[in-house]
């Protein structure tokens, strides 16, 4: 049969970030896939070399709006590995709490997008509604919904207030029943079973050879998780389980992510309850010459940073490796053989890193007025009525 090429991207309504997929198809079947990236290349590794060790934290925090914790954790651990030092215990707990909160909201975000890719927008609405609650917890703890700016080499920048901890715990407890309900709805949904099971299978051998990371590898039966293999921060002080399945298909990845949300909630709650008192910062004065490596299990897999110092206050080389860099090439193994309609969700199943910077601002009562949900609904109805009047619709 004659082959044709379908080009998706670099700018496409289904993609939140620019990337270019070239699908070679025979009829409805995809026989080859090629990815072109680089549309978002901002030269951050080079930028980081012109900042000092403290400033570089802020630059790399802005690599991604979703992984705004994972890059600073890996970077600060790489800098601490040069000396080497271990940060105070309270700082370790704070880092763990923020990192796990990020994992919960990132997995919920993926669920929403996956539903959207399948044309199943109910899942999308549910999940993003629930994600707001987690972002509120993060706002209580850090003051920010995203880009928490909590990290610095040698510790954390801000402490968590003792008064906020019970409030955050109560909020987390209040969302667990909702997640339970969503879990049942997803796992019992025949539409999702039909669409996700048995497609885009990544075998264990391919996962190892492509060096796949995170949920992408754990769904293929590779028990690979930096938090377990090389415990750091507070991960070895808390009881939790690594989620591994061996189906390798998109359904497996979805199940791994869903169950990981529960583990993250467990870690976050235990850490909030057990957090010890004490110093939060080592107050590092200077970084000696040398090289350091830091890794952190981000929601999508391991983030890896390599930093070299020559004794000045700036890194000589700062290499950043995001998990999608290793996961994206696995599409060569998973997409060929599937139909065009499945290709979108298979490509999305590795959770390529999207940037989300949307933020609603609530200002103080002295400033502008605050609109409640009811106000917004009333305003929306008034606007609709006005448009109808203008268009002459009864």
């Amino acid at each position: 049969m004659q082959k044709s090429v379908i080009s998706i991207g670099p700018f496409h309504p289904l993609q939140e970030e620019p990337e270019h997929f070239l699908l070679t198809v025979e009829g409805e079947t995809v026989v080859d896939v090629d990815v072109e990236i680089g549309y978002n290349h901002r030269g951050i590794e080079k930028l980081s070399e012109r900042r000092n060790f403290d400033q570089a934290t802020f630059v790399i925090e802005r690599i991604c709006g979703i992984c705004s914790t994972s890059h600073p954790v890996a970077y600060t651990r790489a800098v601490e590995d040069i000396i080497p030092v271990v940060v105070p215990e309270r700082a370790q707990y704070i880092r763990t709490i923020i990192a796990e909160g990020e994992r919960i909201h990132s997995h919920l975000l993926w669920y929403g997008l996956a539903g959207h890719f399948l044309g199943y927008n109910t899942v999308y609405m549910w999940m993003w509604r629930l994600r707001e609650e987690i972002l509120d917890v993060m706002e209580i703890l850090s003051g920010n919904r995203n880009n928490y700016a909590m990290f610095k080499p040698g510790g954390v920048r801000r402490d968590i207030n003792a008064d906020d901890i019970p409030v955050a715990l109560k909020k987390i407890d209040s969302i667990i029943p909702t997640i339970d309900r969503l879990k049942k709805a997803i796992l019992d949904d025949p539409v999702l079973h039909a669409r996700l099971k048995g497609i885009g299978i990544l075998s264990k051998e391919e996962a190892i050879n492509y060096c796949a990371l995170g949920p992408t590898s754990r769904a293929s039966g590779v028990d690979r998780d930096v938090r377990k293999n090389a415990p750091y921060e507070a991960y070895d002080k808390v009881d939790w389980d690594m989620i591994v399945t061996d189906s390798g298909d998109v359904w497996g990845k979805a199940v791994v992510r869903l169950l990981e949300i529960y583990e993250s909630i467990k870690i976050m709650k235990t850490c909030l309850q057990q957090i010890p008192s004490g110093e939060i910062d080592l107050k590092l004065k200077s970084i000696p010459p040398g090289e350091g490596i830091g890794a952190h299990e981000a929601p999508r897999g391991e983030t890896f940073h390599y930093v070299r110092s020559d004794g000045t206050n700036r890194p000589v080389r700062h290499k950043v490796r995001a998990p999608s860099f290793m996961n994206l090439p696995t599409c060569k193994a998973t997409v060929p053989g599937s139909t065009i309609s499945d290709a979108a969700i298979i490509l999305a199943s590795i959770d390529p890193c999207y940037c989300c910077t949307e933020r609603m601002a609530v200002r103080s009562p002295e400033g502008d007025r605050i609109y409640t949900g009811k106000d917004l609904i009333r305003m929306s109805r008034e606007k609709t009525a006005k448009i109808k009047r203008e268009m002459g619709i009864p």
Partner: protein, 157 residues
């Protein structure tokens, strides 16, 4: 195998090829090997020791170029970094992409950003930089000139 047994085995197996052996901490080991011995050493660590390939990181050290290949043996929490030092005039080292599929993209990236050649790579074209980027200009080299302001203006950026 224990950590010491693995390191002892590596030292014996690649005795001729190891130029420097730096045992930094219980979790980190840096081994400098001859560029010719990179593929056999990396293959042994990846296939036989069952290590995971993290990534390679290239660097311009002014006197030479170097690449570090980071591997970790997850069962013993040990990170082994293989270091190769390359001549600035004609930097080249054999490609690992045929052994480790995960090394394909990073070699393309190092090739365009540092100008290191990887003979044997299946498909060594640009990964990140645009097609208009001039040939022979490598942004991560130390002698790289800062952005030419005029060139930016002329391109309408």
């Amino acid at each position: 195998m224990t950590r010491d047994a693995v390191l002892h085995d590596l030292k014996g197996r690649f005795r001729e090829d190891i130029l420097d052996f730096f045992d930094k901490s219980p979790k980190r080991v840096y081994i400098e090997v001859k560029p010719d011995a990179l593929v056999p050493a990396a293959t042994y660590i990846f296939k036989d020791l069952g290590a995971r390939f993290h990534i390679a990181s290239g660097l311009d050290a002014r006197t030479h170029l170097e690449i570090l290949y980071h591997f970790s043996i997850e069962t013993m929490n040990l990170l082994i970094s293989l270091r190769v030092k390359l001549d600035r005039k004609n930097p080249r080292v054999d490609s690992l992409a045929n052994v480790i599929k995960g090394a394909n993209w990073i070699e393309r990236e190092i090739n365009e950003l540092l100008g290191i050649d990887f003979p044997g790579h299946p498909d060594l074209h640009r990964l990140l930089l645009s097609r208009e980027w001039p040939k022979g200009v490598f942004p991560l080299r130390r002698d790289y000139q800062e952005w030419d302001k005029k060139a930016i203006r002329d391109r309408g950026v």
